[in-house]
């Protein structure tokens, strides 16, 4: 039984399987490009409605254009299992063998394996994100209005929209348009309250939710008179920490790997 398990483990971590999976992933993603390019609208809801709901609606009913995505999920799952088995076997071998150079050399030898574990953590983070994220879409705030966060008892109000308008000459098409939208939010949890500035690419975090600025009005100084409002994408994403940690781990491994490449392999040629 143990021998059978050992054979199965080695088959699972086979490098030939890695190569085959990478090739299939490449081909599948190229196929995905053409499907996504022709039917972008089918995939847009994936950002907000979660993986399961999307698969049961858009996914299953448009298999001609979404089939590649189901295949992608299968291949990525197989790749994760294959990577874990292969990397763990190699790491155990490395830790058992006592080579020259001490801890520093060992760290450099472990670099590719750190990257492999990083990839698994990133993929796990994505899966977690697409399975468990709570999304409050199209949440609009006008000055003086507020939003209540479900379950947490928190409230978010828009105190003021304080945009910066482009006043230069260089970007003619941007003249008098908003170049930096800034919304001052008041976040209160019943016991205390604080102010935060929300902008493009600068989300605000509160009670486990992140607030992302999606749209706003008015967009220009002299344009159509529109009431002041901001549209938010509010998300509670349990996977974000995981995939950010995976990216940090992968980057660390990559740094060691490139360092090893330059210092040892290139220098000792």
């Amino acid at each position: 039984m143990t021998r059978l398990l050992s054979i199965f483990w080695h088959k699972l971590g086979s490098i030939n399987l890695t190569v085959a999976l990478c090739l299939l992933l490449t081909a599948d993603l190229v196929w995905g490009y053409f499907c996504l390019n022709r039917r972008t609208a089918l995939f847009t809801p994936l950002n907000d409605m979660g993986l399961i709901a999307w698969m049961q609606t858009y996914g299953i009913n448009n298999l001609l254009f979404t089939g590649w995505f189901f295949l992608l999920l299968t291949l990525l799952t197989l790749l994760s299992v294959n990577t874990f088995a292969c990397t763990t076997s190699r790491v155990v071998q490395l830790l058992r063998a006592k080579g020259p150079g001490g801890g520093r050399r060992l760290a450099l030898k472990l670099a590719p394996h750190i990257m492999h574990y990083g990839l698994i953590v990133i993929l796990a983070g994505y899966l977690c994100s697409y399975l468990f994220t709570e999304v409050l879409t199209s949440s609009t705030l006008a000055p003086g209005t507020h939003l209540s966060l479900p379950g947490a008892g928190g409230q978010v109000s828009l105190l003021a929209f304080e945009p910066e308008y482009y006043q230069g000459q260089r970007l003619a098409f941007w003249k008098d348009e908003v170049i930096s939208p800034k919304a001052r939010l008041l976040l209160s949890d019943g016991a205390s309250q604080r102010e935060e500035m929300l902008s493009c690419n600068r989300p605000v975090r509160f009670q486990g939710y992140s607030f992302h600025l999606i749209d706003f009005a008015p967009k220009s100084l002299g344009g159509m008179k529109m009431k002041t409002r901001i549209d938010l994408n509010i998300r509670k994403d349990p996977g974000v920490g995981l995939y950010l940690a995976g990216m940090a781990l992968f980057s660390l491994g990559l740094f060691f790997y490139v360092y090893d490449w330059i210092v040892y392999r290139e220098a000792h040629k």
């Binding site: 190569v19 490009y33 994936l46 493009c200 600068r202 994403d237 950010l244």
Partner: protein
Amino acid sequence: MMTPQTVFQAAGALYGLALLGALLPGKRPLLVATFLVPALVCNLLVVGLRYHQAWPMLPMHLGPVALPLCLGLLYPFTAGGECEQDQQRMVRRTLLGLMVFLVLAGLCFPKDFYLPFLKSKTLLAHGFLWFGVIGKACFVFSAIWALAALAANRQAYAKHRLTVALQQSLRWAVWGFALWTVSMFNGELWSYLGWGTPVVWEDPALTLTMAAWFFYACYLHLHLTRSWNPPARALYASLGGLTILALTCVPDLGPFRSPF
């Protein structure tokens, strides 16, 4: 009047002359440099003009303009090493030919009519673009060295020449993979900060970016584990590499427009 279009035309003509100089028999590095340096200056100017019209936001679809520039700037790195002179010459000629082709594609199928968008006003967006372009340039070098390895396979002293050229191809692929990964991480961070999700499914180009990443991850595994023989690896990296790189250029190309 000096527009990015006219300066890019000038860059294309100068790249073409540099290619003709490289195709002449014998070593003519000075002649090539005479045309290549002003071509790079023109190309840099086009990038500068496009940035001038967009900064602090990201100029849209800059790839076809930025890639020849990066290839040109990396051109001196084709020299040296253990490679034979004729291999280096072949690599340089192929590289210059590819640069001319890229400029022509950029001139005939420009996609410079999109205005920059507000969410691209972050260093992560610029990092995403530039790490990606430099990474792609490294992949192009890797593919060209693999082509040289394939050609070497048919000549005398084939084994040594093939090994040396494949080693060069691997070196460039490692750098390309590192930079491509950094570019993808920049894109994912930008996507999270701007939209709250690591992948924005409105952009089909992301699938090709991932495809290229898996393609080169596979190439590195093939090299490091020696699971395919050298000619098969050279074929994979050259023809496969050029195909996947051509595909990653497709989203940056627009409808046909006469270059004159």
